[in-house]
């Protein structure tokens, strides 16, 4: 029962992060919000008993993708923090 509630709340948080990533004006927050989507998706995969997928999402989606996106953003954009 409480795990159903947890899954619903985490799903709603994931969708809120995705909406922030779409509607925000600054690209750096969009990148952070993409990391947040990966964060909650990883916990949801863990809740559905798929630790392999959760580990992949945590390592690649939340760690490495944020790094590479921010390196590229730093390269293409000099002004306007």
């Amino acid at each position: 029962m409480i795990f159903n509630l947890l899954a619903i709340l985490l799903g709603i948080s994931t969708i809120v992060f995705a909406l922030v990533a779409i509607y925000t004006k600054k690209l750096i927050f969009a990148i952070l919000a993409t990391g947040g989507v990966s964060l909650f998706a990883s916990i949801l995969y863990l809740l559905m008993a798929a630790p392999d997928v959760a580990l992949t999402e945590a390592a690649i989606g939340s760690g490495l993708t944020t790094l590479i996106f921010l390196f590229i953003l730093n390269k293409i954009k000099e002004e306007d923090v």
Binding site: L55, T56, G63, L67, I68, N74
Partner: protein, 233 residues
């Protein structure tokens, strides 16, 4: 106003769909034919505790070779477009250096990250994870070190030698399976060993170790070439 209403309606519809998806999840009863074959015979045929690893490396090993090739092509294209000068990176402008705490933490944490990456890909047949995840963790360690010390750079020749050697050994292990076992990337080249220990499951730990080294070298190549050209212009 209508836009906000539409946003909230979208949230609730998606949440309902997700709830249905979550409640229909049933791990024990609804296995189809292929999955039940893997669940029944995977442990005795391959000897790996983690069935996902058995499927990725052995049953569908050829697909893994294709994935590694795709990653290699991506790294090669990025390295081609971001090629640095032979002169090196002398001109640094407006670069604010890291604090002492960050440099010390990078010296402590980089070996720990390498160790955890090696743990993930060596234990790929016992615990979740495997070559790709371990390689991503190793590349994150390299990225953290470059972040703390922006003036240093990685030796690209060592990385390329490591990457091509481990890729070659991966293919050679597959061909050894073709000769001594039952087909390409068959894992019964080495003895299967005791179920659930580190030295078991044939050549799966070896294959995953070389995949992890290859992926880690490729990703750190991408990161260091992205970071190096920044300082140059």
């Amino acid at each position: 106003m209508y836009k906000k209403l539409l946003v909230f309606a979208t949230i609730f519809i998606l949440a309902g769909i997700f709830l249905k998806l979550y409640q229909n999840f049933d791990g024990s009863k609804t296995l189809n034919k292929t999955a039940s074959y893997y669940a029944k015979n995977g442990a005795s045929e391959v000897g790996s505790t983690n069935i996902v690893t058995a499927i990725v490396v052995t049953y569908r090993g050829f697909d893994t070779l294709g994935e590694v090739t795709i990653l290699f092509v991506a790294a090669a294209i990025i390295g081609f477009f971001l090629k640095t000068n032979a002169k090196g990176t002398n001109r640094i402008r407006n670069l604010r250096f890291s604090s002492e705490i960050m440099i010390t933490a990078s010296k402590i944490l980089m070996p720990i990250m390498f160790l955890i990456g090696a743990y993930v890909f060596v234990n790929g047949h016992l615990s979740p994870g495997g070559g790709f995840q371990g390689g991503a963790i190793i590349a994150s360690g390299v990225a953290f070190f470059l972040l703390a010390n922006p003036t240093l750079s990685v030796n690209h020749k060592v990385l390329s030698v490591l990457e091509s050697t481990s890729g070659l050994i991966f293919v050679l292990l597959g061909i050894a399976g073709l000769i001594y076992g039952g087909g390409f990337l068959d894992n019964r080249v080495l003895p299967l060993g005791k179920f659930g220990t580190l030295f078991s499951a044939g050549i799966i730990p070896l294959v995953y170790s070389f995949i992890g080294l290859k992926v880690g070298a490729e990703l750190s190549n991408i990161i260091s070439s992205l970071q190096q050209i920044q300082k140059e212009e």
